[in-house]
């Protein structure tokens, strides 16, 4: 009728998801906490990519930032301290159809969960990792974190911490099979959103460190950078994080950096006088463990029975 082929199918999305489709419980983070803006950015990424909420899982560990899944209206897994990565990897390995996000903090990822972090980078499964780094333990009330700067005073180091901090970007860049490493800040929503978008779209383990303000326990660490544009260095490249022109103009300091260049990436990651933000490194064709996991999914009952019968045969008397 009306010239349409009888087998024509008009693809109409079943439903257009709006931001409210991703909004879960009312966040219980402190007012002024940087986590709020990350939550908003993540919800926007979901909407922009029209991720079905039932096909999306936010996995976290324990800590302030790990409350993240509670505030999404997707599936969520608020598990154990430091153990978000094994759970997220297990989900993705046998359910590659799900969109997996990980929300973790500096204690969760860089202290108690360090072993899993290193290996998750190497597994390079397709997931988006948000490290919300406020350089302090918040939930347990003001203890030194592995990313706290030397001299940080806290309840565990009242006279100042004695060791230099871990640099999560340099650490990530040092792991075999690393495929996406970016840094952004909670106080620049446009850059934050653009970075998370790029991370989501990267086919592999996308690691985004988000410098995140804790108004309660570490308010001073990013205070100057928030107000003084000179303290931030924007890494730019045609293959980098794509920013609207207006946003780019906000930055006084910019440098061209090809995200294919891992040595240069390590150099930028190590600079001390400014906060480098942008895409440090990306490689799209690394080995992916979720692809390996996918290869023999969906065996029929008959195929499984046949495999078992074959085993009985092998061990028959």
């Amino acid at each position: 009728m009306f010239g349409l082929r009888p087998d024509a199918v008009l693809a109409v999305p079943e439903k257009y998801y709006t931001l409210s489709d991703y909004e879960g419980n009312i966040p219980r983070w402190c007012p002024g906490c940087g986590d709020h803006s990350v939550l908003t950015a993540a919800q926007k990424v979901c909407r922009e990519n029209q991720l079905a909420p039932e096909k999306t899982v936010f996995v976290s560990g324990i800590g302030c930032s790990s409350r993240f899944p509670h505030y999404m209206k997707t599936y969520g897994f608020h598990g154990l301290h430091g153990r978000a990565f094994p759970v997220a990897c297990g989900i993705k390995f046998r359910r590659p159809d799900l969109h997996v996000f990980v929300a973790t903090g500096d204690g969760d990822c860089c202290s108690i969960g360090t072993g899993h972090w290193i290996h998750a980078i190497r597994y390079n499964m397709d997931m988006t990792v948000m490290l919300l780094d406020n350089e302090i333990y918040g939930l347990t009330k003001d203890q030194t974190s592995p990313t706290s700067r030397k001299g940080t005073t806290s309840n565990t180091h009242p006279t100042g911490s004695v060791l230099p901090p871990i640099n999560p970007i340099i650490t990530t860049l040092g792991v075999a099979n690393v495929s996406f490493v970016a840094q952004t800040v909670d106080w620049n929503p446009a850059h934050l959103y653009a970075t998370l978008m790029a991370a989501y779209q990267h086919p592999g383990f996308s690691f985004v460190r988000i410098l995140q303000r804790c108004p309660h326990f570490s308010a001073e660490v990013y205070a100057d950078a928030v107000t003084d544009a000179n303290q931030t260095l924007l890494l730019n490249h045609e293959n980098g994080i794509e920013l609207p022109k207006g946003v780019e103009r906000m930055f006084k300091n910019t440098e061209e950096h090809d995200p294919a260049d891992i040595n240069k990436a390590r150099e930028f990651a190590g600079i001390q006088d400014m906060i480098p933000i942008g895409l440090f490194y990306q490689k799209k064709d690394n080995e992916r463990y979720d692809e390996y996991g996918r290869h023999n999914l969906g065996f029929s009952i008959e195929a499984k029975e046949a495999a078992l019968m074959n085993e009985f045969e092998k061990y028959a008397v």
């Binding site: 599936y75 153990r83 297990g90 799900l98 009952i301 195929a303 078992l308």
Partner: protein, 633 residues
């Protein structure tokens, strides 16, 4: 020395008759191969066991494993080897003293002598190259040992193993074991075609040249024995009944995973559990599964929980130290009600303990190991056959009761080889496809049934089922508990699931009379030894029975009533307990072996125990002795 009919050679089971060969019919025999580590004694013994099972004998094998990969040669502590007990009837345990031993050096035998593995008259076929060794002390040790063995009453026959092997291979270090397999194949009149097929199977990944050389060794060993030993044993096959399969306990666990339709085994290497994953790594992919070797024990269970949560109930396999590390995640699976299968192949503990040796030390850790109240189902396989079937059951229970389920095995079952009836496949064994239907509107993620505590569980992908799983105390909606009664209610519902499961359990059946003077209660791999011991003592008219438990948590029903009908109840198990007459031990200070402790609490019955942590399987003879002592016989 030889038990039966020494004057009348019988018809050998293979049908070969040679008038020069004396044939001794026996009902059963215990054979050991003892060597330095790395000489392939276990491979030869496992092969001998498989060949014997294929020929219709009842078989049980147990490996003798040193802790090191390659301990110093000729060291007593480094002895490696295997025991094969074979008979004309079903064999359920390792038995007592060996009848015949093949030894690659005399020093290795001393570790077995220390474990009372031999008796007067045990035949020892001993490599004789040490007599001519270029190191004088070795020659001396050898001569001294020969004299010592003679004084102990062993029947030593020197065998030129190395000399004979050198006629076929340049390096007899790799190959002597197959020569010995040939020798044993002659002694027990094994079918050489079956032996050849066995060699082809174990060397399937090697070149044809390697296979051929091992076949040559097999035949050479056979022919040497035929020409030089002059005797054979005849152990007739069991009556042909059902079709059988033969494997060890870890293979059975792995095969159970395939039969359960499980698609992920997430593990970290740990002795003696690892070989489950070795087996699966070879065949799992052809059954839709993958073995994931995680970065550590914690990640292994976390990964499994991720897959389980996402609808593919997974298994993790480990041993004691791994269980210790997995504790927090087990608690999460309990709290958040995620199905999971945990295979614990127990070894000696605590800490690194006895990695290669048997212990039943994880019972209480499985039941009570988590902080807080953490109800889980705990079951223990008592045979190789049960290793297979319990994995299938464990997956179903894990899903039905949305909780982790432990299947306890141990180092004795892990490497023990025993034939059992070929399981009849049932499609219900397999996991159903992941439910991706729409979640019913208004139904909370923990829709706890008031009476049973059971609830369905939304799986990612189910529309309308979105919820946030949490390890925090939570209500029906998985919302974090901010009110005082919520944790009480959640704990109550989770606990009630065990009570609901308990309703489905049957009262266990007593082996022997329902009443008497002594009841021996066991669990796990000791069943064969206990039942054999009880049968033996009952022959003398003693009123002793036994009871074997498969479900430890919730515990099988009716125990108190069963116990009441016996004057005395003891457990037999392989874990630590204080002896009543140890220094400082009083009724108040005495710490009981694990099942005894648990049964005392559960039944308020006076339950004593016989246990030790020697790292050895329980022998029927030791149990017989203890039963006699308990009964003052």
């Amino acid at each position: 020395m030889l038990e039966l009919n020494t004057n009348s050679p019988g018809q050998s089971s293979g049908g070969m008759v040679d008038p020069k060969i004396e044939v001794f019919p026996v009902k059963e025999h215990i054979v050991e191969i003892v060597s330095d580590s790395g000489e392939g004694a276990q491979k030869a013994g496992q092969s001998f066991g498989s060949i014997s099972a294929k020929m219709g004998n009842g078989v049980w094998t147990v490996e003798i494993i040193p802790a090191e990969i390659q301990p110093p040669a000729r060291s007593r502590e480094g002895a490696s080897g295997i025991r094969i007990r074979l008979g004309s009837h079903a064999i359920t345990n390792m038995g007592d003293e060996a009848d015949l031993v093949v030894a690659f050096n005399e020093q290795a035998l001393y570790s077995r002598i220390g474990q009372q593995a031999f008796k007067e008259g045990t035949i020892i076929l001993l490599e004789n190259k040490w007599a001519e060794d270029k190191v004088p002390t070795v020659q001396k040790q050898y001569a001294e040992a020969l004299a010592d063995f003679e004084s102990r009453g062993y029947d030593v026959r020197e065998v030129p193993m190395e000399t004979e092997c050198l006629k076929i291979v340049d390096n007899p270090h790799h190959g002597k074991n197959m020569w010995v397999l040939g020798l044993l194949s002659f002694l027990y009149n094994r079918d050489l075609e079956i032996a050849e097929a066995q060699i082809a199977r174990i060397f399937r990944r090697k070149s044809q040249k390697v296979v051929q050389s091992n076949l040559d060794l097999l035949h050479a060993g056979f022919k040497w024995a035929q020409a030089n030993l002059g005797f054979q044993y005849d152990i007739p096959a069991q009556e042909k009944g059902l079709d059988l399969v033969v494997m060890n306990g870890n293979e059975a666990l792995g095969m159970g995973a395939i039969a359960a339709g499980i698609e992920l085994c997430s593990m970290y290497p740990i002795t003696p559990a690892t070989s489950v994953s070795h087996y699966l790594a070879e065949v799992f992919e052809s059954a839709g599964g993958v073995v994931h070797q995680a970065e550590d024990e914690i990640a292994a269970i976390g990964f499994a929980i991720g897959a389980s949560y996402a609808g593919k109930t997974a298994l993790t396999v480990t041993s004691g130290p791994g269980i210790a590390l997995k504790t927090e995640f087990i608690g999460l699976a309990v709290m958040a009600e995620i199905p999971l299968v945990i295979l614990d192949v127990q070894r000696g503990g605590p800490s690194t303990g006895l990695p290669t040796k048997v212990e039943q030390g994880d019972l209480l850790a499985s039941i009570f190991g988590q902080p807080g109240d953490s109800p889980t189902i705990v079951m223990a396989a008592s045979s190789i056959e049960e290793c297979f079937h319990f994995v299938i059951m464990a997956r179903k229970l894990a899903e039905a009761f949305t909780m982790p389920v432990f299947v306890l095995s141990d180092a004795n079952l892990a490497t023990g080889v025993q034939p059992f009836p070929k399981p009849q496949f049932n499609p219900d064994w397999l996991a159903p496809p992941v439910d991706q239907s729409n979640w019913k509107e208004g139904v909370p993620p923990y829709n706890w049934d008031e009476k049973t505590g059971l609830s369905q569980r939304p799986v990612p992908g189910q529309k309308g089922g979105m919820y946030v799983l949490t390890g925090l105390a939570h209500d029906e909606d998985s919302h974090v508990a901010y009110q005082s009664d919520i944790n009480q209610r959640g704990s109550n519902r989770r606990s009630r699931k065990l009570a609901a499961f308990h309703q489905t359990l049957k009262t266990p059946v007593v082996n022997g009379d329902d009443e008497g003077d002594l009841l021996v209660v066991g669990w796990g791999s000791t069943r064969g030894s206990i039942e054999e011991a009880v049968a033996k003592v009952r022959e003398s008219g003693a009123k002793v029975s036994s009871l074997h438990l498969r479900f430890l948590c919730p515990i099988e029903p009716g125990l108190k009533e069963i116990f009441k009908k016996f004057k005395k109840v003891i457990t037999v198990e392989i874990n630590y307990g204080d002896e009543a007459d140890d220094p400082l031990i009083t009724a108040e200070t005495r710490r009981y072996s694990q099942l005894a402790w648990y049964l005392r609490a559960h039944t308020l019955t006076e339950v004593d125990f016989f246990s030790n942590v020697h790292g050895q399987p329980m022998r029927p003879g030791a149990i017989v002795e203890r039963i006699r002592k308990e009964l003052a016989l």
